[in-house]
């Protein structure tokens, strides 16, 4: 049992820093994991132990790429058994409204042209804990997001091999993960054909130059750059071309937002609900950290900013709790879909407590709002980031 549990944990937690935030009821996960997994990894903040949902501490976002071991993890049912997604056992089928059904293994796929791009992956519920009134769901705070380099093949190239019939308008994804009870709906999602045929929409088999870890969708996941992560199905096994949007809970009820903003506390929205797609413009402060004490003098404030399909053009920082704002310096060169690091040197002069805020603007003129419009799923939070610090004399 000891051996098998360790093996299981090693597999289940592959790619995870296991300095978990655990209550007294779960002390042994760290010891069971042993030292090896903890070496060289930072802790994740565990929101749910099973299925394993954990977010990245924002201090990790001082790095442009988020390491696999520290990348947030989210799924509805946890990963499928590792054996079922080993490359020799795993197959991808392409079916539905196609001229020729395909069954592909990983080597078949890798015959197609390889594409590498860097893109932000973000859970739609990132920041849900900030919505008021509170909404049900995993209470993500700031770190259900990360920036990684994805390598794979274009979904378009796979669909072209199968040949999409003229009636095909949506592309459905099914992963190998299954709920504990057969009565729970499968996590089945679809994206419109236009997004599926976009040259940057990938079926990725590598993350940051390494084979996809099990927790991140091994051996193959969808990457829809600029769109929220629920479109980025992990452990992909089936692609089905359809005439309509996928029916079922996870497409028709979950991950939908009101087409127009709803009034706070108004209960159910009065407008049509549409699927969550693009990421709204957003920025985060990676340093200093919440509660830090800083010295009078120059203080480097740094963080990241991103938007959906448009680049970030400006980040502003306030170090007096929103009274005045100054422009931060954007670092490096902008890359589509990746986040942009930014930096601001604050001359801290007044001892005492204060708050540092940041907000970003994208090329379409969209501004990060002070607080996001409330919606019943608690999705797409992109309010100004804010942290409290104290200036020491």
């Amino acid at each position: 049992m000891t051996v098998s549990r360790r093996e299981w944990l090693r597999t289940a937690l592959q790619g995870i820093g296991v300095g978990m935030v655990v209550g007294p009821g779960f002390p042994s996960i760290v010891t069971a994991q042993g030292n090896e997994a903890r070496q060289g990894t930072g802790p994740l903040t565990v929101r749910v132990s099973r299925p394993f949902d954990a977010e990245t501490p924002v201090r990790e976002f001082a790095s442009w790429l988020t390491p696999n071991e520290r990348f947030f993890v989210r799924s509805h049912f946890g990963p499928p058994p590792a054996d079922s997604v080993k490359p020799d056992a795993w197959r991808l089928t392409v079916k539905g409204l196609v001229k020729e059904e395909l069954t592909l293994n990983l080597k078949d796929l890798q015959q197609l042209e390889a594409v590498t791009l860097t893109a932000v992956l973000q859970c739609s519920g990132n920041g849900r804990a900030h919505h008021r009134p509170k909404v049900p769901g995993v209470q993500w705070e700031r770190g259900a997001v990360g920036n990684a380099q994805w390598t794979g093949v274009r979904l378009r190239d796979v669909l072209q091999r199968a040949g999409v019939k003229p009636q095909g308008a949506h592309v459905q994804f099914q992963g190998a993960d299954r709920p504990a009870l057969a009565t729970v709906p499968l996590f089945t999602r679809s994206i419109p054909l236009a997004k599926a045929l976009h040259s940057d929409t990938l079926l990725a088999y590598e993350m940051n130059g390494r084979p996809l870890p099990l927790l991140h969708g091994a051996p193959l996941r969808v990457i829809t750059p600029g769109w929220m992560a629920e479109s980025c199905t992990k452990w992909l096994t089936e692609i089905t071309v359809r005439a309509d949007e996928t029916p079922g809970y996870y497409m028709q009820q979950a991950y939908r937002i009101p087409e127009t903003a709803v009034r706070l506390s108004s209960g159910l929205p009065g407008s049509a609900m549409v699927p969550v797609e693009q990421m709204p413009v957003k920025s985060l402060i990676a340093a200093p950290a919440e509660g830090d004490t800083v010295r009078i003098g120059p203080v480097t404030v740094q963080g990241v900013a991103w938007a959906g399909e448009a680049p970030v053009v400006k980040v502003e920082v306030s170090c007096d709790d929103g009274k005045t704002w100054e422009q931060a310096r954007l670092l490096g060169e902008g890359q589509p879909y990746a986040w942009r690091q930014w930096q601001f040197v604050w001359s801290a002069r007044t001892p005492g407590p204060t708050a540092i805020l940041c907000r970003a603007i994208d090329a379409q003129g969209e501004q990060q709002p002070a607080t996001s419009p409330w919606n019943p799923g608690g999705f797409l939070w992109n309010g100004w980031d804010r942290l409290s610090v104290t200036v020491a004399a």
Partner: protein, 224 residues
Amino acid sequence: MERMGSPVCHSGGMTLKTAKKTSGFVLAALLCPLLGWVVITAAQDDDRGTIQPAQARQALTLIHARCAVCHTTDLIVQQRLPADRWTVTVEKMMHWGADLSKDEAAVVLQFVTARYHSGAPDHLPSIEEELAMIAPAAGPRPGFEGPVTGVASRGAGLYAHNCQACHGEGAAGGAGPKLARNTILKNEGAFWETVLHGRGPMPAWSAVLSHQEIADIHAWLATR
């Protein structure tokens, strides 16, 4: 989920609301020293006053045994929801197969609505911590004396009901390890320790399964 047959949330028959202050004090007196809570807000006192200890125990046990089939209970404890959203949530879980009778669902709903409401404090003890505090009085068969003999034929159903969600059909493994022909079956000390007190992500089952039931499951697993 909108087409649920009949709502599970009617609390008309519940005695929770009629609980006397004294029972709240009894539970508070039990909980406070154990948790080391120095300050308890009036709101918390009121909350606890609406749940009798016996029903809190029943709700905690149900949450631990039935909700945790699909997700750990940390997901529940982090919610802060008004009653109507809790009602919808419990209905959704019932619709998805949560193994709760209507009466049991009502007990769970009453508990989560009282404990994890919109104004509740940010940090509350876990279900397992609460259960551990009340478990001594709640063990289903506290009079356990000496070894019991497991009956494999009974163990099959108990396994399917309590263990299969994680350990797989036929004990072939799933989210949890494969148990068929697992060496732990030969190490009864480790087996009982794990089942009774939990280990890693596996919850403790001492408040849910009797010793006889655990022995039955062990006997059935030994045949796999």
